[in-house]
Subunit: 600 residues, 2 copies
């Protein structure tokens, strides 16, 4: 039997005989002695094989990387000067008495500590890739997060209730993964995009507090941080108001960070209305580690000669802002050009700027291609409102509000995260800056469709007193919706739900969903609301993203054991794959392959 | 804010003002006073609305069944003679000071305490059905089982690692649910039938101890205890032998029964080789609550005149057994006929019997249609071996061993569970009788296919010393496989796995799976075994079944929030359903509908 994990051998075991299981991470022959770094999921320990113990030494000579072995030996202090502070076992070594080769290994296709492997290599050889200490730690941290969530919610009376994986397709939102039914010819199940409706039904059923750590599915084109299947921490509770709900889940995240990473998050989290977040940061998920903020200039730019500013300031839905970057006055032309290109990704058609060389010299002290077309009143407003200091650079955005917010919001983060931003102290490196963004609009106007769409989802309750706005002025109606944001990432989002059918009907009317369509799509929820549905609300957290942040991983694929590539393929098992004609026949489907174009 | 759950108000709260949330379970007007049974997930409490409190009383008058309300009031003792011992709150009542109607309810389509509802009604109105106290308790118990499993495994270092839901179709075993790929035209994912291969890969990756409470899928024709999606407690560990693995999971189940139901299961569980279970009970999942056992007579019946017995005893693979039923001598002809019909379901072509009226009278004291064709030696062996007593009936089975085991094994349980069996003390009613069945055969011979198939699955390790039998005598090779059986149900099954590639190859050869086929189907596992795979093994438990047993539910559909019908439909959401042509087109499939026959 194992005495303890290899990675946990320490000075506590000095003088003891221990038995360890693990893999040969490295073997070194030095001065006639064989040194083995033995590895298990908890870490490494150094094994010493002395030539005096002939049998054991002969076995040690046969060891190669990734052999699986059991080793029994004496724990002793490492010689002076050879300790390794980066390992828990770094002060000790194990003098091998017995070695048992449990399984040999063919030569591995790459070194586990090679940090320059392609993702294709890593995912193809995922079983070996997962042996890398970083991947072991990532998945163990992921587990600690989920079990600490469970412990916290258990103690508050939340119960895990499983909702169906084979459910109904609703043709809105993201694309569903479909599952053809064999028994019901021509019909399909859908894999759930979230258990949203089911958790609301469970509240109506009276389960009071529900949670689930559950796989959800979206058949979308994949980006770096997306997977076809992803995991939500999905929660819902009855009889609590927005503040009470937020308090519970704010506490949960604090509990997780404290127990898993020994990090104390702010208590309480700052709470910021959506409108303030957009105003100050141009983003509904501001990275508060970055100290830069927008200065709004829309009001003052209406009559300047610079057409870009005046045009945006005068157009409906236009916005003009400044972003003052302390100490940015030394930026080179090529740096500014690079930033100009960067904001172009977000639709900005240029990036105006002013370098503040010497405020005492007035216009003379400013360096800028645009300043000559900005009259004194506006220029003074820029400098005063932004709090300009000598040595700053001030960037400008002027366009439709969405373009300005996206472009200058992204620029704000880009500069904050840059080496310059870090050096300049514009970024609280290594800090965790959570906040709640609240009071989201109920609706967004879809220009193309010429109608409102639900900003969150159509079951979100309006703020108290905003019920009438649903009919009279939908654009002004705010929702009891809230996002938890951490370091610029939305890690959770939720809302108080509508629990009265008449409010739900109003929302559907605002969304131009008629009664028939509503009944067809959400009939079972509307029916349920009639039977004494309780006030309820909840939240869903993205586990993959939270763990990615907590581990510092570059991709969510590094916190998922068997992820899919960006082509939605599993390189290890070679899924998806072709299937038998017999299987298709049983499912009442046939292939419709894209036509192959032949040269003619 | 809620003071406590409604169902938890008790004498502890006497004299306190409490605030409760819940649903009107029943309203009674009695002597000018309104009594309300208020219900939440924890149970019921009696609310008293006094006409003296005019405002509150007026609200109480508007209450109807299933209204959702908040009630604040004084907890006081119930009047003498009106206490209800079946409720936790049965000694107290709450004098309502304030009532707030949180949501009204339209009249419900059935009374929640109606026990005679059809399953169609219940599943169609699942949201109301789930409000029934029994359903609330079932799902809360289900949760307690899962969280206690997690707590137990956490403390032993098992970590929950998620495996893919979108995985590769393997065309053996049960039918897969398929998911067409949009990105990879003509290819399909399969929903997992179990994470078997992935958990083995995780062991090869060095995660040491894995578990997952995970949805699995089988597209099979449904029986009473089957669902298209079901939940497994899936576990795997490295570096332990069979006994050590069984000990861990035996302890887990004991922990769950103790913490969830306060039941002390046997410690240790009995361990029974598969051959013994088949010999004594004709079943690999014997219900040990039933005290009846087989008496084997194959050796002694070879030369009796009764052809049915002699034929079975002399044929290869034939078996003759007796099942002595103490006190069964009074069974009527029609009871015996009913049992005869019952064993017919399992292929038995009759059911011979002897009633033991008076042993002192020899043959005269026996009543039987067959006894005249059984010679003295055999007859004495029947009576002696079975331990016959006056007043018994002895049933016989004679056929191929499989038919005898199935038929008489089922009869054994049937009689034990019958009213007669319970009265006669042949059944330990209300007891829990777990055991391990071990030493299963490696292979079963498939007559139709003319080859061996894996009895468990092809990754199961042979017993030590049985490796050579894989080649020389596959039928005799036993496996390190084990099932946990409770009261006649297999609740978990597992094995030590093969961790050396050369043993795996031998097993494939015994199964007539050639290298190419093996590589195609399980290549990623075979590859993984080459890289120092550790010794490992595990087990999977059926959560639905365990919870069904623990709750005493009649069907697993009573322990699943949103189950499918036997036609694999969700009556609540109406899944599966037709989908848009556009969706099919994107998935590169078209329908192939069964031809409709027209009269012509």
């Amino acid at each position: 039997m194992r005495t303890c994990y290899t990675g946990q051998v320490s000075s506590e075991h000095l003088g003891q005989i221990v038995t360890l299981f693990g893999w040969v991470h490295r073997r070194r022959d030095h001065g006639g002695v064989i040194f083995i770094d033995l590895r298990d999921r908890e870490g490494l320990a150094q094994i010493v094989c002395d030539p005096d113990r002939v049998d054991t030494f002969q076995i040690a000579e046969r060891l190669r990387n990734e052999f699986c072995v059991s080793i029994t030996g004496l724990v002793r202090k490492r010689p002076e000067g050879t300790t390794n502070a980066s390992l828990k076992s770094g002060e000790v070594e194990i003098l091998a008495h017995d070695i048992d080769i449990l399984n040999a290994s063919v030569p591995v296709p790459f070194q586990l500590d090679d940090d320059n492997l392609s993702e294709t290599t890593r995912l193809t050889h995922r079983v070996l890739d997962l042996r890398r200490p970083q991947m072991q730690q990532n998945l163990m941290l992921r587990y600690r997060v989920s079990i600490e969530v469970r412990k916290y919610l258990d103690q508050l009376g939340f119960i895990d209730i499983e909702t169906p994986m084979l459910t109904k397709s609703t043709p809105e939102g993201a694309r569903d993964y479909l599952v053809p039914s064999r028994v019901n010819a021509g019909q399909f199940f859908a894999l759930p995009q979230s258990p949203q409706l089911f958790k609301q039904l469970l509240m109506v059923s009276g389960f009071d507090r529900y949670y689930q750590i559950v796989k959800c599915f979206r058949d979308e084109d994949l980006r770096a941080d997306r997977q076809p299947e992803f995991t939500q921490i999905d929660c819902e509770t009855s009889f609590l108001n927005e503040q009470q709900i937020r308090d519970i889940f704010e506490d949960m995240i604090r509990h997780v960070f404290k127990t898993v990473k020994n990090v104390d998050l702010a208590n309480p989290f700052p709470v910021m209305p959506w409108s303030e977040a957009m105003h100050r940061f141009g983003s509904d998920k501001p990275d508060l580690r970055v100290s830069l903020e927008f200065t709004d200039l829309t009001d003052i730019m209406k009559d300047v000669d610079f057409k870009v500013f005046a045009g945006a300031a005068n157009s409906e839905g236009g916005r003009v802002v400044a972003l003052r970057v302390p100490g940015g006055g030394d930026m080179s032309r090529s740096e500014i050009d690079a930033y100009t290109q960067f904001v172009g990704i977000y639709g900005a058609r240029g990036l105006a700027w002013i370098k503040v060389n010497d405020l005492a010299k007035g216009r003379e002290g400013l360096q800028s291609p645009i300043v000559k077309n900005i009259h004194d009143v506006a220029l003074n407003a820029v400098l005063e409102r932004s709090g300009a200091q000598n040595g700053d650079i001030i960037f400008f955005g002027a366009d439709k509000a969405k373009v300005v917010n996206d472009a200058i919001g992204a620029l704000r983060v880009k500069i904050g995260h840059s080496e310059f931003g870090r050096k300049q102290g514009l970024m609280a490196v290594g800090e965790w800056r959570p906040l709640w963004v609240v009071d989201f609009p109920m609706f967004e106007y879809d220009e193309e469709a010429g109608r409102y769409t639900a900003a969150h989802h159509p079951f979100t309750a309006p703020k108290d007193g905003h019920e009438d706005l649903l009919t009279t002025n939908p654009a002004a109606a705010l929702a009891k919706a809230y996002d938890m944001v951490l370091n610029g990432w939305e890690i959770g989002g939720g809302s108080v739900r509508i629990h009265r059918e008449e409010v739900q009907s109003k929302v559907f009317r605002a969304l131009k969903i008629d009664a028939e369509e509503a009944q067809l799509k959400f009939g079972f929820l509307l029916d349920a609301l009639q039977y004494g549905a309780p006030p309820h609300g909840g939240i869903a957290f993205g586990l993959d993203r939270i763990v990615t942040m907590m581990t510092g991983a570059e991709s969510i694929r590094d916190v998922i054991a068997f992820p899919k590539t960006q082509r939605a393929q599993d390189l290890l098992t070679q899924a998806p794959s072709a299937v038998d004609e017999k299987q298709l026949r049983e499912l009442h489907i046939r292939l419709r392959m894209p036509e192959v174009k032949t040269a003619g």
